[in-house]
Amino acid sequence: MAMPHTLDIKIPLPPGPLANYIARALSVDPELSKDSVLRSFSCSQDMLEIHYSATSARMLRVAVNGAFESVRLCVSVAAELSPEVLDMELVESGVKG
């Protein structure tokens, strides 16, 4: 089926492996409506690159919304549960205690 509606999203992330991690974490689950939406996650250096194409603008919007929610989740996991962050909090609470 023709997929004339496309969107390329580039999200800059902090230097390091994060963009790669997010691309890998989100590539696993197949898009639910495979017949009407195609999707890919990749990264180049610290840039997360998401490509969407869909049969209709509506399908595109729904799918892209979902992707943003997932990216947001990944970023919050990294922001709050990265080894550096957890170790830092331990040091801080140690100093206080």
Partner: protein
């Protein structure tokens, strides 16, 4: 060995940290140590059920907070964690996915192996660990599953199951009919109402061999509710007044429970006699129901056996069971997946898992 478990196949998000001390599995006196077991439940308004989209949103909002809290209250460092276990299925697609994304990210950030866990096997292994039941017939009853299970040759084999909706779904949906609260759980509120029930109404009894059917019973109790209750749930006043006391919501809940649980006791008993076992282990959210435990206990005692149940911490979906079953699997390499393979699946039968960690 320490495992982090993430569960989110339905409306509960559960995070657990468990430790299998050295010698675990070889020395039966060494038990698993629960380091943290926390849960946050998505409760939908009365009269409604939880939808996949809203439930997934709930899990995304709470996952990070709960994991931080689990690490903090247990004092476990991310370094001490040996593997990250998540629910692969069965369950609702969107909630499962949300939690799996978190598991994949943690696996990469912490550089720890990932273990995909069958939700039903999680319930069974946790029930065995907590109660010490060695080789019981397992009755797994929840909002999404109804199975009578026996272990044989490294598989949990399904002897009987629901043919349509799960027993817990039947209870949950009747709670919606009555418009009662879903907090803490619809089934819990039905159980409380049923305690005041006096009149046992006739409902279809739908045991078919080793299997059960619940959807016809739901249709039947729903129509009794329409017949006997006003839309606001009060008993209907008839003119002239009936000679018997009017039928109340409590009578309906009582009748529903007695009928559903009798069916479960019957099929469980048949499985016990088939494999010559005198122990029953009840797991899953409906397993908290004290009336079900009582009825099962009467049957088991008649057979010279006993029933093993757990309380809400372990019966209701939780992260610790995923951590525990995942760690059992991890010890023999079962369920270990690369990030790229760490998917989820809405359908995942209990007997698909190779239970390599048991003899």
């Amino acid at each position: 060995m320490i495992a982090l478990g993430l569960e989110g196949s339905a409306n509960k998000l559960g995070i657990g940290l468990i430790q299998h001390p050295p010698g675990y599995g070889r020395d039966p006196t060494i038990r698993a140590k629960i380091l943290s077991n926390i849960r946050h439940t998505f409760v939908s308004p009365p009269g409604t059920g939880f939808l996949p989209k809203d439930t997934a949103l709930h899990h995304r909002e709470w996952a990070v907070k709960l994991i931080k809290q689990a690490l903090k209250e247990s004092g476990v460092s991310w370094r001490d964690v040996d593997c990250i276990c998540y629910t692969r299925g069965p369950g609702m697609g969107a909630p499962l996915q949300s939690v799996a994304v978190v598991a994949r990210m943690l696996s990469m950030l912490w550089n720890k192996p990932l273990v995909g866990v069958n939700h039903c096997v999680g319930h069974i292994e946790m029930g065995r660990e907590i109660t010490g039941a060695e080789n019981p017939i397992v009755l797994y009853v929840s909002g999404g599953n109804t199975q009578v299970i026996a272990y044989a040759e490294q598989r949990y084999r399904i002897f009987g199951e629901a043919l349509d909706i799960a027993v817990g779904n039947c209870l949950d949906r009747f709670a919606r009919t009555l418009n009662i609260s879903n907090d803490p759980a619809p089934g819990y509120n039905i159980e409380q109402l049923a305690k005041q029930g006096k009149t046992l109404l006739d409902l279809p009894y739908a045991v078919k061999g080793m299997d059960c059917s619940f959807s016809g019973i739901l249709a039947s109790i729903d129509s009794l509710a329409r017949e006997h209750l006003n839309p606001n749930g009060t008993p209907k006043n008839t003119d002239p007044p009936p000679s018997d006391p009017p039928i109340t919501p409590s009578d309906l809940c009582f009748s529903l429970q007695e009928t559903l649980f009798s069916m479960l006791v019957e099929t469980t008993e048949r499985a016990m006699s088939h494999v010559n076992s005198s122990q029953v282990l009840i797991v899953g959210g409906v397993g908290c129901n004290l009336r079900l435990q009582e009825m099962m206990g009467i049957m088991a005692r008649d057979r010279g056996g006993s029933v093993y149940g757990t309380d809400e911490r372990f019966c209701i979906d939780n992260g610790i069971m995923i951590a525990h079953a995942g760690l059992c699997g991890f010890s023999v390499g079962e369920g270990v997946v690369q990030v790229e393979e760490a998917g989820v699946t809405q359908r995942f039968r209990t007997d698909e898992v190779w239970v390599r960690w048991r003899d």
